[in-house]
């Protein structure tokens, strides 16, 4: 297992280096001009040259590339045009995007997987075809249209001021970004703990009941937030983020249901299903304990390929809530997408690079996590990799 893990991490690092290289040269070639040309129209040529030298923009491309890679090793992504470090900017922007993603998946995955499982098991019926078409409809719904519907029909549930007010709170200093980070950690750590517990029980051929999952995932974070005295802040954040979370959950639900349906359908033709039928097991038991269990791994590995696309959908939704500028929809999500697009307008190449890099690293981490999960669940993967 350690050997497998080390191999995966090494492969991930190789991927990351190729990724950063592609990204760096693409950004240099395709994002026109630099920060200095964008903001210093009134400056004399000497001043501009001095500013370029200070920002390191006068160096040749290759030198800048090597500098950037060396900085990356130290965990330094350079400075934004505004002077702060890119890492600090990312720390301020990332948690909101991640919170929306994690909460939306926590809603979309259980519902989508359950419905997809039923439809895949009963494929060919009108109900299954209906679910398929509804899922495709939700998955391909143009995000700005979805946002428009949500704002028109659901905005009564949240404050009409919506996310714009969240940004105001952040500016006032009444709400710190640390709260968002610790919200995120709480949920991730509890989910991991439950997962490890489920894997441990699996050795003894027991499964962790669904209600333990539900209770742990809902009551666990709530209790911790209350104990740490951040409950009121959490409520504020959740109320403001409610609409984006619902929007992303609706998009992700379609994807999860479609993938679960196709994997369960494929698994239902396996031989062990006939064996289980021959044993006289009830249909529902075969579906839930044999087929769905077996289909979980391919479901996760297929969803892994869609994670980057889901993140794009999420960023599009963030922007749609904020468009135009201060919002016809009256909302601004202080997340990754606004960081990325503001810096794109400002020709702030380092910040754009940092933002895209952050997206890439998140995707890479999710993939690594799923690789490890697969190896933990499926001994053939660990042993197969050792044999090679």
């Amino acid at each position: 297992m350690t050997r497998y893990l080390a191999g995966r991490i090494f492969a991930g690092l190789v991927t990351l280096v190729i990724f950063v290289t592609i990204l760096f040269f693409m950004a240099e070639i395709l994002i026109p001009g630099d920060y200095v040309t964008q903001f210093t129209l009134g400056m004399s040529p000497q001043d501009r040259a001095a500013l370029r030298a200070e920002l390191g923009l006068d160096q040749p491309l290759l030198t800048r590339y090597l500098d950037y890679m060396a900085g990356l090793l130290r965990g330094d992504l350079g400075e934004t045009g505004g002077g702060g470090s890119v890492i600090d900017a990312l720390i301020a922007f990332l948690p909101w995007t991640l919170l929306i993603f994690v909460f939306a998946m926590a809603i979309a995955f259980p519902i989508g997987h359950r419905l997809g499982k039923i439809a895949g098991w009963r494929d060919g019926t009108p109900g299954a075809a209906g679910l398929t078409m509804a899922s495709v409809g939700l998955y391909t719904l143009f995000p700005p249209l979805l946002v428009f519907f949500l704002v028109v029909f659901v905005s009564g549930l949240t404050d009409n001021q919506g996310i714009g007010a969240l940004r105001a709170l952040l500016k006032d200093g009444a709400l710190s970004v640390d709260v968002a980070w610790s919200m995120l950690w709480t949920v991730v750590v509890i989910a991991l703990a439950l997962g490890v517990a489920a894997l441990g029980l699996d050795r003894y051929h027991r499964t962790l009941p669904a209600w333990v999952w539900a209770l742990g995932l809902i009551a666990g974070p709530v209790l911790i937030w209350m104990a740490r005295g951040m409950w009121s802040d959490v409520i504020v954040i959740l109320r403001y983020l409610a609409l984006p979370i619902i929007a992303v959950a609706i998009l992700a639900f379609g994807e999860v249901a479609l993938v679960s349906k196709s994997t369960v359908k494929e698994a239902s033709h396996e031989e062990f299903v006939f064996a289980a039928r021959a044993k006289g097991l009830p249909d529902k038991d075969i579906r839930d304990h044999h087929v769905a269990r077996y289909a979980l791994l391919p479901t996760l590995s297929k969803l892994m390929v869609s994670v980057p696309f889901m993140l794009v959908g999420l960023m599009i939704i963030e922007i749609s809530f904020a468009w135009p500028k201060d919002g016809a929809f009256g909302m601004t999500v202080p997340g990754m997408s606004s960081a990325l697009f503001t810096s794109l307008e400002n020709r702030d190449t380092t910040m754009v690079l940092g933002g895209l890099l952050a997206v890439g690293i998140i995707v890479l981490l999710v993939r690594l996590f799923l690789d490890v999960l697969q190896a933990a669940l499926d001994p053939r993967i660990r042993i197969g990799s050792r044999a090679q």
């Binding site: 990724f19 395709l30 700005p144 494929e266 993140l311 960023m315 135009p324 995707v363």
Partner: protein
């Protein structure tokens, strides 16, 4: 030589390329409800794209039915009567009264979202009198062009990555698969949004947009799915048979490997290109996109309208029409992919 030919015919039969298999596959596609719905939608969109140039050249006055500049004066004036300063009101009223005598000076004319359904404008107009049906028809062509060019590029790139990697293995596969893994970290729609709003925005015609998207998604996500399928195919017995009978690399890849990959490839390609449609529409929606009309432009206008015209309602008819067209086009490709998946009854992966 004849022995080789015979064996290859036998191989072709076993891989399902006979007409009998084709009929069965067509029947299974026909039996897949989502697939048929998708196909019908796609045919409708194609007809829409074809209809626009024909209609503007025959029955439609091209000035009245231009998606960007086709201002219907009757509707413009209806809005104007209540709004503009006095001197212009007289002129506006004169224009408006010619078509609709019931309008009086200073009337607050309802219908700030434009005209409703009617014979001149089947789906109504936006507040400035642009015909919504004309917009829908005019947007279908570019959107389909993006989808088709993205699909073809994705197919070429993904199939070459997968087939070359699986056939030559070793360093070729290492380079190709590592490139794919790196490209997967870079979501194609996001890159296209970044590029499509950059200085080079006007370099992106629908075709170049689709081609670039196809390069990214074909080298990344689709190539990864195809690669494992190509490896599975290469380990089948008939590849060894072909090799033993003296077939060269080109023949094995072109005649035996790629045809076997095509059904699965078409499924992931059709699913993959939905992102191109959404990305292009989103670029137009932000208003920072290339200088051409697309369905996303309709949403952009609708959202911007209240900002430009004071506290009025968002013209939802433009917004919903454009948004639904984008969503349904993307959905139709996905649904056809499901139909193809059912038609070839994909083997377990």
């Amino acid at each position: 030589m004849t022995a080789v030919a015979e064996r290859e015919t036998a191989v072709a039969t076993s891989t399902g390329a006979t007409s009998g298999h084709r009929t069965a596959a067509l029947a299974r596609f026909h039996g897949s409800r989502p697939g048929m719905v998708g196909l019908v939608l796609l045919i409708i969109f194609t007809l829409m794209a074809v209809a626009y140039p024909i209609l503007t050249r025959t029955v439609w006055d091209p000035n009245l039915y231009d998606p960007e500049f086709g201002l219907d004066l009757v509707i413009v004036n209806k809005v104007v009567v209540a709004e503009v300063v006095d001197a212009q009101r007289e002129v506006a009223l004169a224009f408006a009264a010619r078509r609709d005598p019931s309008i009086r000076l200073g009337d607050t004319v309802p219908g700030r979202v434009g005209a409703g359904f009617g014979t001149t404008h089947l789906l109504g107009t936006d507040p400035t009198g642009r015909d919504i049906l004309a917009m829908l028809l005019a947007g279908a062509g570019p959107a389909l062009m993006i989808a088709v060019s993205a699909a073809l590029t994705t197919a070429v790139v993904a199939l070459s990555f997968a087939a070359l990697g699986a056939y030559f293995r070793g360093p070729v596969d290492a380079i190709l698969s590592n490139t794919s893994n790196a490209l997967l970290l870079l979501p194609a729609p996001l890159v296209m949004i970044v590029l499509g709003t950059s200085r080079y925005r006007n370099a992106f015609t629908p075709v170049t947009f689709g081609v670039l998207y196809g390069l990214l998604v074909g080298g990344g996500a689709v190539a990864i799915v195809m690669r494992s399928e190509a490896f599975a195919t290469m380990s089948k017995g008939y590849i060894d048979t072909a090799r033993a009978s003296g077939a060269g690399s080109g023949r094995i890849i072109g005649r035996h490997l790629v045809p076997q990959l095509l059904p699965l490839a078409s499924v992931s390609i059709l699913v993959g290109i939905t992102g191109a449609i959404v990305a292009d529409a989103f670029i137009a929606f932000t208003g920072f996109g290339p200088n051409r009309f697309s369905w996303g432009t309709m949403l952009s206008w609708a959202i911007a309208f209240p900002d430009l015209n004071g506290p009025v309602d968002t013209p939802w008819n433009v917004l919903v029409a454009g948004g639904l067209a984008i969503s349904l086009l993307a959905a139709s490709f996905y649904l056809v992919a499901i139909g193809i998946h059912a038609a070839f009854d994909m083997p377990k992966r």
